[in-house]
Symmetry: C2
Subunit: 353 residues, 2 copies
């Protein structure tokens, strides 16, 4: 910090992403990346796109990608907003829909970036305490003063709400925006996308980082009423006309189009998750039922932090959160079947029988 920092900069508490270590090769089960590479059609499109045209600015509106996403979800192009990963989309959404003096609601255990956004954009918030089993008390999300944001499935718990619960939140917040952050929806949950034409207060946010294996390409999007998309465009065009580069745009189009590969890889992950969950339970772990590409688990005989370090020593990275109520849990990404076999084998060496 120095005298040159703005008052805002001095007040910030940035988000810490999961580590990307360079010291040695790990089995990375710490950042919810997909174990399978992107579709070969994506790779092909990217290689084709690496050409002289990179001297030109990208399409600032990303029309082709917006149309591809709109078609996929049965929406109109004007109901799609693109951003540099869903984090940027979420940040812009805080600017576009939430106001200082009107507290928004989100769960006390959730994606920790929401607090960071609230802080940087001066949006007050109230944390709704999850039930003991980490389920969301829907009735406490009624009548928000400033709006609601929550991930479905929630992170890092992995618990997914039913569409009935989502609709209840929408109905009891008709004057305010409800953002459903569906980063993990493709791994078994039901998307709220179908509510968009009925609820003009709904914004659904998704990403290509998880189920489409493109964390390295930075593409996220929002779906909602065209008036909401228009507000997001106002914000984007006041900051950066072209947050998606030409390659990200052309790769993303193919990722959405290759339905067969998408289904195949996400089904493999779901299968592995179910198998691993069973094995963990048989070892005495408490495993929360997950509809994501990770599991959230704890054990009565060994503390999560001890487990974290023991796994790390043996070349496996998982994620631990130093937050009250979940500091004895670990979030473990579902890797490939081979990686998860290694994970289970090593866990058996560490965990007391």
């Amino acid at each position: 910090m120095s005298k040159f920092w703005s008052e805002l900069a001095k007040s910030l508490e940035p988000y810490t992403p999961g580590e990307q270590p360079k010291d040695k090769k790990y089995i990375k089960l710490n950042t919810n990346e997909n174990p399978y590479g992107p579709s070969s059609k994506v790779i092909e499109a990217l290689k084709d796109g690496a050409n002289d045209n990179l001297k030109l600015y990208p399409d600032p509106n990303g029309d082709e990608l917006r149309k591809t996403i709109a078609d996929y979800y049965g929406l109109k192009d004007e109901q799609v907003f693109l951003g540099n990963g869903s984090d940027e989309v979420l940040a812009f959404s805080f600017m576009a829909f939430f106001n200082p003096n009107e507290p928004i609601l989100f769960p006390d255990i959730t994606y920790s970036f929401y607090k960071v956004y609230s802080n940087i954009y001066n949006i007050p918030y109230e944390e709704v305490k999850l039930n003991k089993d980490f389920s969301v008390p829907i009735n406490k999300l009624h009548h928000s003063k400033g709006g609601v944001i929550l991930p479905n499935p929630n992170a890092p718990t992995g618990i997914c709400l039913s569409l009935k619960s989502i609709e209840e939140i929408l109905q009891f917040n008709k004057e305010k925006i409800v953002i459903i952050d569906e980063a993990y929806i493709d791994f078994g949950g039901n998307s709220a996308v179908g509510f968009i034409d009925q609820y003009p207060n709904l914004l659904v946010v998704q990403t290509l980082s998880k189920s489409r294996s493109l964390a390295g390409l930075r593409v996220g999007f929002a779906l909602g009423h065209k008036d909401l998309i228009s507000a997001l465009n106002y914000v984007k065009n006041s900051i950066n006309s072209y947050p998606l580069d030409r390659l990200a745009l052309c790769g993303a189009v193919q990722a959405i189009k290759d339905e067969e590969y998408f289904q195949e890889t996400k089904n493999k992950i779901i299968e592995t998750r179910e198998k691993v969950s069973q094995e963990l339970k048989s070892m005495g772990f408490l495993v929360i039922p997950s509809l994501t590409n990770f599991i959230f688990m704890s054990h009565t005989k060994i503390h999560a932090k001890e487990l974290l370090y023991s796994l790390r020593e043996r070349g496996i990275l998982v994620r631990h959160f130093n937050h009250a109520r979940i500091d004895n849990h670990l979030r473990v990404t579902i890797g490939s079947e081979e990686e998860m076999n290694t994970f289970i084998r090593i866990l058996r060496e560490i965990v007391p029988v």
Copy 2:
């Protein structure tokens, strides 16, 4: 606009980028893109980088690219900040260094995004009126209350300040940040980079969009004292941990490293600029001496707007700004020699002798 927009969103006046038409093929002299493609080493690196690793998040700090840029400018890695184009770097700088209640200074004729940033981040500003010949009245940039931002060379005028003038601005603003936006510096101007170790209040911002032919890849950076870079990282990490994707990072490294290609292409552009300037003058145009990859010109016998439309009809796009004092000027990007020959030939058909 709808009832769901935040007060902030309602107040925005977004920036309008130069058009990227899709209706037919134009000679695009309207967005200051480089007529030459990126280095073949960039293309090769991008093709190599299009692989399975795109399933993984990028390096959030972009260490390899930061080191490459630091080495190039004789700086330390911690003196380099990376962003998604220089626009994002500038936006983050407004958040990191400027305060509400402390007016910043910038020229009245300059990059129009500065006003947009001031608006979205609630930073008051005073516009310093350029002299009649569009030169910057340096003494009016002394003792700013909130800081100074200006492009050098200025846009859309193309006029470049001497390092002596830049140093005067730094000396008379020792308590406040001075941002020198060097988007066009490589086309003949002298960079302020050499002042960084002497002036902890200096932030230099550059881009790979112009002189490195990578507008389509979205890479910009800031250079300055490590405390300033650290403030920018606080802001970035409160919004989006990974604004540069894996391909942008690896392509940019090669763009900085291929010095030979960089020198060759930027020298060609400078040569073309000088030749075109001479021809335009011989046709009665007033051409402001430019140290950029564009020229800013006007004619006594034909109005800029008329010229704009006539050129467009004939397949040539140039940029016109509807701002007082410059609405009879056109900004024309320096294209390839062939493109500029066509431009001059068509101009001869339009302009009264």
